[in-house]
């Protein structure tokens, strides 16, 4: 499973990081620091939850 984030559209809500800081690391300004994350086994549900938490709807999950 992969997380893909439209990083340039991030406005810094940081709701994804509130679900999992490990999956959704932020920069020092509180904006998403990555565009793509390989979801480690066992963290799939957190990844989906983090994607759903984004008010800007810019996080998509690619199931395998």
């Amino acid at each position: 499973m992969k997380i893909r984030i439209n990083k340039s559209a991030c406005v810094g809500n940081a709701r994804c990081a509130a679900v999992s800081e490990q999956l959704f690391p932020l920069d020092d300004d509180g904006y998403i620091a990555v565009e793509e994350v390989d979801v480690p086994p066992g963290m799939e549900e957190l990844a989906r939850k983090g994607a759903r938490a984004c008010p800007e709807r810019i996080i998509v999950i690619e199931e395998e």
Partner: protein, 417 residues
Amino acid sequence: MSAAAISPAVPKPAHVPDALVYDFDMFRDPAYVADPHKRVLDLVKNAPPIFWTPRNGGHWMLLSHAANFNAARDTEAFTSEFIPKAELAAMKARMPPGMPHIPIPIPINLDPPDHTKYRAPLQRVFSPKAILAIRDSIVALATELVDAVKERGHCEFMKEIAEPMPVQVFLKMLGLPLDRQDEYREIVAAHLSDPSPDARAMIPKLQRIAASMNDTFLARRDNPQDDIISLLWKIEVDGKQSTIEDMQNYGVLLFIAGLDTVMNGIGHGVRHLAQNPDLQAQLRANPKLVPEATEELLRRYTFTVPPRLVARDMTFEGVEMKARERAMLFLPAADLDSKEYPQSESFDLNRENKVHIAFNAGPHRCLGSHLARVELQVIYEVLMARLPTFRLDPDKPPTFHCGHVVGVDSLNLVWDV
């Protein structure tokens, strides 16, 4: 406030169809001022999802979640620059020397790309990490304020807790003197209750705000401390260091946004808790639910109404709009849109989608949202931990004010001692 007359109606522009006209005064509609979110639910059910009201000079109201979400994220169609740059420059050129600067609240009244440049230096001080670092001090302050009324069995919650808590936190962050708290609050409340539809009419009020901070600006320029005003002196935008004019621009925005928002969110949330002893019991039994409850309270009682200007003639969501018309992002309605949130009127901790836009969407997402969230969570936690079940005082029902911030004026609580 509820006794104030609604504003006169202006004639409808020719391009607005009758079906899209709905009479609603966003400052003084009597039912709205009596119980704001009850009236919002009524509008969500009975008014068009985008309507034009003839009150307060005539303007659009965007109600649906989709309209608010799309408008907030399209800063080329909906501008935040209420006085166009060229006009502002001409006004300044006409001013005789020695006249006070015209403060423009930045970054909120800028569009990208300028917005991005001026907002960037502030991101770090309001980031989740920076706010986490002051969380303990917020808990200490909230505890002190709640303990001060605890033995009494009643309080006027707005004046005694909801107002001093975020205001003191924010004055300290900015570096403004705490002993002028009442004066600052009076200035900001007067500013936000002004329904004037013309941005130019707000200039003297903004100048008054800037003047109230000037001593501190100058003191921090010469003698920097660990606060936001000192930090703003050190930043550079486009390679240029801050001037006193830049400080006033930033200052008026931080002042307005910081001193009159969170307290009202707290007021709406605590009113709901006071009306729902079962929810209090649930949160007391399981304080880990407080963050989820905070989000659902924000959705249920979204309380800011950011204004925009239509930037060009266009058709938006099927509605014809003309350049320079005003449009309100009616976020309280967006977060009660039943298309987005089934049974939107129920507070539901188990709701699958609690992802609200109480802090707006798009690049103008509330800069202070992380601070606001922590303050809301902290006050709910502290109230649950320190007070027994509290309820509304049946003899003194809460009172409200409406406008760009939908706020609580008074909230009398009682509990058994």
